[in-house]
């Protein structure tokens, strides 16, 4: 008790200073701990977006769940997409705890998504027109997700770090699931190989955009500075993108695939990959929900949300009261 009382008596500046000392010492902040307002808001935004992205991320693969070409593949992709929904739920719970002191709930998250105030990840606005796209999402999109999420495994906010630990463990299985689909295609018929190369060409730019712009100058906004300051993440967007290249470029080439970027090479002197920048104007459009599939996928989620409102009402007992 004396500790709590003395902490309450501190000025805001002193609380902030204590807070920074804690996170710089590697301590974890818990849901009920004091935290600066912008830390809370940054986390809510980051985690709600992550949660919603997991859930919206099920939609590009949704098309291929019923269509998977064998019983084994059907079972595999069902399990994979179920995991993604599970991640979404786990993260929603983390976001809900952070929002509780503000009097906000999951309902606000959904409404913000429908209004366009809460974004879902730019990679999930892209079309997935073939079975190879389903494999590529598992292999490279989940592979990219592992890289960004690993970067936050030691996040200063304990509940998020713990959720990420579990998520990353499952993402490794997803990447293997995707890789297995990709391998079958890469070793398959001419048509299968072409289908795979097409999918890579289609997804390449989206994979570069996945990590976000190198600096806020590119698009006018980036959360990376504040998230690094608060020890939520350690590496910059560009470092993550470079890590992705280092891990996946050799693997892509080993499968006999061509990189859709002829300028791409590793510069020994600079110690980094040189590549053609994606069209960041396109990126800006995507994050305004003007991507190729943005509207369609939002519509799917919104329609199901309202169409099933009677079920949630029945469960909450509201209709009994009417």
């Amino acid at each position: 008790m004396p500790v709590v009382t003395s902490f309450r008596r501190l000025s805001e500046e002193e609380k902030y200073e204590r807070f920074m000392q804690r996170i710089e010492a590697g301590e974890k902040i818990e849901a009920d701990d004091w935290m600066p307002e912008d830390y809370r808001m940054t986390l809510i935004k980051l985690i709600a977006m992550h949660a919603i992205s997991e859930i919206m991320g099920a939609l590009p693969e949704k098309e291929w769940v019923p269509k998977a070409p064998s019983l084994r593949r059907k079972l595999g992709i069902m399990a994979k997409v179920q995991d993604e929904m599970g991640h979404g739920q786990l993260l929603l719970r983390v976001a809900e705890d952070l929002m509780a002191p503000l009097g906000k709930t999951r309902e606000e998250i959904m409404q913000d998504l429908f209004k366009g105030d809460l974004k879902f990840h730019n990679v999930f606005h892209m079309p997935a027109p073939t079975w190879a796209d389903a494999g590529l999402i598992g292999w490279l999109v989940d592979g990219a997700a592992i890289i960004t999420q690993t970067n936050m495994l030691d996040a200063s906010y304990g509940p998020y770090a713990r959720a990420l630990k579990r998520i990353c463990a499952e993402e490794v299985f997803h990447a293997q699931h995707g890789e297995s689909i990709i391998l079958a295609l890469a070793e398959g018929t001419k048509e299968q190989k072409e289908m795979l190369q097409d999918a890579l060409n289609r997804w390449w730019e989206a994979l570069l955009m996945f990590f976000g712009p190198a600096s806020s100058e590119t698009t006018g906004a980036s959360k990376q500075d504040i998230t690094i300051k608060y020890r939520i993440r350690t590496k910059t967007n560009e470092q993550l993108r470079q890590d992705f290249f280092t891990k996946y470029v050799p693997r892509i080439l080993a499968l006999g695939l061509k990189l859709p970027d002829e300028t791409m090479h590793f510069d020994e002197k600079q110690g980094k990959w040189i590549y053609k920048q994606p069209d960041w104007n396109k990126f800006k459009e995507i994050i305004r929900n003007n991507g190729p599939k943005s509207k369609e996928r939002l519509r799917l989620r919104e329609l199901s949300y309202y169409h099933n409102a009677w079920v949630r009402e029945a469960l909450s007992g509201q209709s009994a009261a009417v």
């Binding site: 098309e63 079972l75 399990a79 599970g86 739920q89 398959g188 329609l303 199901s304 169409h307």
Partner: protein, 273 residues
């Protein structure tokens, strides 16, 4: 008579014929309902249900895969081909299970009916439970072994759907109306789930499964207290309004479903995917 290995079936062609028929019914039922369930992905009333439902669909697809594997082991064809290649006229699933989830397409403007989903899955799962309990004593031992495995997962499926059914039917207003309509709709074709089809008598004679009438009575017994709890009448006869799927009678819904679920497979049925 007990048959312990597929090889022994060569000496019993009539037994084999009845067994194959039964296995197709079991496999096709689970396969098509799991498919319908998978169309719900991302569209369930809340995220928690999306996760639970897709877990059930996965289990159910796993059960279908086990039955198709039993057919493959008997030499009827490769499991994947049996699941993806057969036209609707060769399918043995109940018509109720092939019906679309509601208006719309699973990617465009789906207006799926959650009341129908709950009632169809609950009633079917209870019928499956009755069947599985009987199959645990089947004269075909590989099938009895599969039944034991499936039974473990069924416990949770049944509990899940029973909870939904009671909660929504006992809610007042719109939910109860919707549930009553769904119950009436499901009963119109539920006879097709309970029947063993034209070769049912042979299946019983060979000790593969108990009689249709026995199974039906067990289903009614299991449902009676539930219907009392939700204050609804339980009929004693169930319809087969749109035909008997056990005899290969099906609707256009099944043709469309087969086209979708085999779309990639059909690009090249001979290659590995």
């Amino acid at each position: 008579m007990k048959i312990t290995k597929p090889e022994e079936l060569h000496q019993h062609p009539e037994y084999k014929e009845a067994l194959v028929e039964l296995l197709f019914q079991l496999a096709d039922d689970d396969f098509i309902l799991s498919y319908r369930g998978s169309e719900w992905l991302g569209l369930a009333p809340h995220i928690e249900e999306d996760i639970a439902f897709s877990s059930i669909n996965q289990d159910t697809m796993g059960h279908a895969a086990m039955y198709y594997q039993l057919l493959e082991d008997i030499g009827i064809g490769k499991a994947d081909d049996l699941a993806h290649q057969r036209p609707s006229s060769e399918r043995r699933n109940a018509v109720l299970l092939e019906e679309v989830n509601g208006p719309g397409h699973y990617l465009h403007e789906p207006r799926y009916d959650w009341a129908f989903a709950v009632v169809r899955h609950y009633f079917y799962t209870q019928a499956k439970k009755v069947r599985i309990d009987s199959l645990k004593h089947s004269s075909y031992e590989p099938l009895a072994q599969v039944a034991v495995k499936i039974n473990m997962e069924l416990y949770y499926h049944l509990m899940h759907w029973r909870t939904w059914f009671i909660q929504l039917t006992n809610a007042q207003g719109e939910a109860r109306e919707r549930m009553k309509n769904a119950v009436a709709k499901v009963f119109e074709d539920f006879g097709g789930v309970l029947t063993l089809g034209a070769k049912g008598d042979r299946m019983v004679e060979f000790g593969l499964i108990e009689s249709e009438e026995t199974l039906k009575q067990r289903w009614v017994q299991a449902m009676k207290p539930i219907f009392e709890e939700v204050n609804l009448d339980l009929p004693s006869e169930f319809g087969m309004k749109r035909g008997n799927g056990r005899n290969g009678e099906h609707t256009a819904d099944l043709d469309e479903a087969i086209m979708t679920l085999s779309e990639v497979y059909r690009l090249d049925p001979l290659t590995a995917w």
